[in-house]
């Protein structure tokens, strides 16, 4: 199939960017979206042009490195799919596709489609862990965890930190990311001891990074490639107020 791409090109942080149009011919429907961009980049390189910078690594939907907005949707049109696992069979011959980076003040553009997501790491550094030094641990079976809780924890923990939730949110809020980490740890007995401090510090860190507030659009839930539920946001909201005021 033949496609027309409108891709955001921006030389460096803070520079003026713009959408540039590229035509790509003979795209196979078995290609992944990123492989289609590889093909474009090889051609640009051969023509001596600067290839489109985009982030990617594992290309199997788990590392969370890739992430671009395709026709207004983070990770493209297929639900619960990262862009590296999005295949061209989801598009048609003659389609016009607009490709933009994640947009949020807390995720400044580094180059083209690459953004700086280190804000996520800083939120985790403020409390997204259990304070247990290596060697402290009791036997793994010492504390039974009800299967439903373990499953719920796993649902939240499957977050890949890609930032699609922020990109999808009209407010660029990082609530789903933050709530997923909190929800993961708070569903387990191991996460209980530091519960109050964790939710307090992480919410404040999230605000400090300049993310927006949640207005319950639920775009995050729809965009999340791992299908993480906004249920965790509700839990975080309750825990934050209960733990900070009591």
């Amino acid at each position: 199939m033949n496609l027309r791409l409108h891709i955001w090109r921006q030389k460096e942080p803070g520079a003026q960017g713009m959408l540039k149009t590229y035509d790509v011919a003979d795209v196979s429907e078995h290609m992944s979206f990123l492989e289609m961009l590889d093909v474009l980049n090889e051609r640009l390189l051969e023509n001596g042009e600067d290839p489109v910078a985009f982030e990617h690594d594992c290309r199997e939907g788990i590392c969370g490195t890739c992430g671009i907005v395709i026709n207004g949707r983070p990770h493209g049109p297929v639900p619960k799919t990262t862009v590296c696992q999005l295949h061209m069979r989801s598009f048609h011959d003659g389609d016009s596709i607009t490709i933009e980076p994640w947009r949020a003040s807390a995720f400044p553009v580094v180059k083209d489609l690459v953004v700086d997501r280190s804000a996520f790491d800083r939120i985790v550094q403020k409390g997204g862990f259990v304070s247990v030094n290596t060697g402290n641990a009791p036997d793994g079976n010492a504390i039974p965890v009800p299967k439903v809780n373990a499953d719920l924890a796993m649902d939240a923990a499957s977050c890949i930190g890609c930032g699609a939730c922020v990109a999808a949110c009209p407010n660029a809020s990082a609530m789903l990311f933050t709530a997923a980490k909190i929800g993961h740890l708070h569903s387990l007995p191991q996460g209980q001891t530091e519960k109050g401090a964790r939710v307090y510090n992480m919410v404040l860190a999230m605000d400090d990074e300049g993310f927006g507030a949640c207005t319950n659009h639920l775009e995050c839930e729809a965009a999340c490639p791992k299908g993480i539920s906004a249920l965790f946001i509700a839990k975080m909201n309750a825990e934050f107020v209960i733990n900070s005021l009591l």
């Binding site: 093909v39 600067d50 982030e55 690594d57 290309r59 799919t81 790491d121 079976n141 796993m154 569903s187």
Partner: protein
């Protein structure tokens, strides 16, 4: 010329060695720990766990990753699970059995003492991870669940859905993040290691390049830990992440570290087959699928019927037929080779005949679709996304793909290379898996090295050598190493030829897969030794890299990595050529039994081949003879 290496394994009985060694290692006084600085390169399972644990102990730690976050390291992609000799299932597991399975699985090419230690600490890893909040799968009673993996007859694999690597890495990442938050780890992201600063046989630091602004600088420290993963991407197509590379360990090799057993590469039997020339990487389907999936091909050559229309008696469940006691759970090297064999026989399925079926129909009939969905739901979804086929109704098509590299920098029992103060952890070292790694053992090894081994052995090293003085010689060497790296970058940019780095990488990968892949022979290896240098010459004369070295330049990053692969590939081929035997992942066609099984040569090759860089001349080989005092060198049989 060739010297005999010693793994410096402690004396004593196998079971007591580690305990005894820990008691004998010197200790660093708690208040002195902060005087020592340690650089950890790589933030996967081994790197993150080591950096976090060393910071908890009080060392000054700098952690470096080329990704934008430590959580992106490729450990995250491990699906199936992590082994531990907990015997929670009461099925007869023990430290000894895990040790024995691992050393047998590795085709008796690993160091006994290291493997035994790995089995000993395996249980602690599970405990530690549970305490960190890793959401392992649980039974309804709330206790930890297990499943089976290839090469074992007990159920000892702990898992978190099909995302075990992710959850373990996030556990280590969280521990690391805690130390970063406390100011005890200096985390540097988007920095790639370019060189090691070595003075008088001791590592004093590394040279790093900022991938965003291109700045190259030297960092000094009292010890350097390389936790930089494997080199499967020398094949271009592998299940590794795109950025995985050999650069860090290869440049350490060029500074004097020995490279051990580079030809030991693992081909994973269950990957999604290649679909076209544009393909950028291969996707693994977890080995755990073989718990319930049955592997088969049609009995007749060129049978192009739909799989569901081929009757039962016209199917060849070749693993069950050839290896009745392990069946579909035969180890990876065996299962991969068997798949290649049936495809070479013309009975492969799918486009190009490069595939075999992995069929869940029986399991779905027996257990119901819900159970299968619960166990493998995310893997099935992934398969469907990539291929557009529904594995609940049509059997999956799979084919082997390069997955893991057992070879790596040579290390002694303390995980230190022959360069003092240069430690190597996880997949980057050669130590525990011999010639073939069993499923669910990579996660175990990475975390064992990082959480439970390096904290002791690094302390022992630092206590006995003291702070590495930043002498004039060190400063000079650091400056020189920085200049050397800058020069290399300038050189890549100055070629201004016509071919892209990817095209060279792809071509190299094809040479390696054809000549040094699942099956190797002398003739092929010799021709690879001619083709690789030719390709390398062309690379240095005809490479095209746009842009500059002072900006985010992904083509430049890639070129620099491909340059190292082009040198390293030759070393790998040399190693494969010299090892006149078949063992584990290294299958030499000349050395096989009549029914096509690998034929080991224990008399001549029970050693680790550790290669020393020798400038433009052929590398020198050193041998570490492996002594098996506790296990008998048996022919590996899974029949």
């Amino acid at each position: 010329m060739n010297t005999e290496l010693s793994g410096r394994t402690p004396l004593g009985s196998l079971a007591d060695k580690w305990e005894k060694h820990k008691n004998e290692l010197k200790l660093v006084n708690p208040s002195n720990k902060r005087k020592y600085s340690v650089i950890v390169v790589g933030t996967g399972l081994a790197g993150s766990s080591a950096a976090a644990t060393l910071a908890e102990l009080g060392y000054n730690v700098t952690a470096i990753t080329y990704n934008d976050s430590p959580r992106r390291a490729h450990s995250i992609a491990a699906q199936g699970g992590i082994n531990a000799a907990k015997n929670y299932q009461n099925d007869g597991d023990s430290v000894w059995r895990l040790f024995y399975d691992t050393i047998k699985g590795g085709d008796f090419r690993a160091r006994e003492a290291n493997v035994y230690r790995l089995a000993q600490v395996s249980g602690n890893i599970i405990d530690q991870c549970v305490a960190q909040g890793v959401p392992f799968a649980r039974e309804y009673g709330g206790y930890l669940a297990n499943r089976s993996f290839g090469g074992a007859q007990v159920s000892r694999t702990f898992y978190a859905r099909g995302q075990t690597g992710q959850q373990l890495l996030l556990g280590a990442y969280q521990a690391l993040s805690r130390q970063v938050g406390l100011g005890k780890v200096n985390l540097l992201t988007k920095k790639e290691m370019m060189d090691v600063v070595v003075v008088d046989g001791r590592a004093h630091g590394v040279v790093i390049r900022d991938l965003v602004d291109g700045k190259i600088e030297a960092l000094t420290a009292d010890a350097v830990l390389l936790c930089t993963g494997g080199y499967s991407n020398v094949f271009y197509l592998s299940t590794n992440a795109k950025a995985c590379n050999v650069t860090a360990v290869y440049r350490a090799y060029k500074r004097g570290a020995l490279f051990a057993n580079p030809c030991f590469t693992q081909i994973h039997p269950t990957c999604i087959p290649v679909s076209g020339d544009y393909q950028s990487k291969l996707t693994l389907m977890s080995e755990s699928l073989r718990n319930d999936g049955r592997i088969w091909v049609p009995k007749e050559r060129g049978d192009t019927r739909e799989p569901n229309r081929i009757p039962e008696d016209e199917r060849d469940y070749y693993l069950e037929r050839k290896y009745p006691s392990f069946g579909n759970l035969s180890p990876r090297d065996i299962a991969s080779r068997a798949a290649k064999e049936v495809c070479d026989d013309g009975r492969g399925v799918g486009p190009g005949g490069k595939g075999v079926y992995l069929d869940f129909a029986d399991a779905i009939n027996r257990l119901g679709r819900n159970v299968i969905e619960d166990r493998y739901g995310n893997l099935f979804e992934m398969y469907q996304r990539i291929t557009g086929e529904d594995p609940y109704s049509v059997p999956m098509r799979i084919y082997p793909a390069v997955h893991y590299t057992m070879g790596g920098l040579w290390v002694d029992y303390n995980l230190m290379s022959n360069v003092n103060g240069l430690f190597v952890l996880g997949e980057a070292n050669f130590s525990d898996h011999g010639a073939n790694r069993l499923g669910a053992s990579a996660l175990m090894q990475g975390l064992a090295d990082g959480y439970f081994i390096i904290p002791y052995t690094l302390g022992g090293y630092l206590a006995s050598t003291g702070v590495g003085e930043r002498t004039e010689a060190v400063r000079e060497k650091a400056t020189e190493a920085v200049q050397h790296s800058e020069e290399k970058i300038r050189h890549l940019l100055a070629i201004k030829g016509n071919r892209t780095p990817t095209s060279f990488h792809r071509e190299l990968g094809k040479i390696m897969w054809d000549k040094c892949g699942m099956a190797r022979n002398e003739q092929g290896l010799r021709s690879a030794l001619v083709e690789i240098p030719q390709l390398r010459d062309e690379f240095w004369n005809n490479l095209k890299v746009p842009g500059t070295g002072e900006e985010l330049n992904q083509s430049l990053e890639h070129s620099s990595r491909v340059a190292d692969f082009l040198e390293f590939a030759e070393l790998m081929v040399r190693d494969a050529l010299h090892r006149n035997e078949s063992c584990g992942g290294h299958f030499r066609e000349e050395f096989q039994t009549e029914d096509g099984e690998a034929k080991r040569n224990d008399n001549e090759f029970t050693y680790v081949a550790a290669w020393e860089y020798n400038g433009n001349n052929a590398p020198l080989m050193h041998k570490e003879h492996l002594r098996f005092e506790n296990v008998e060198l048996a022919t590996r049989s899974y029949k």
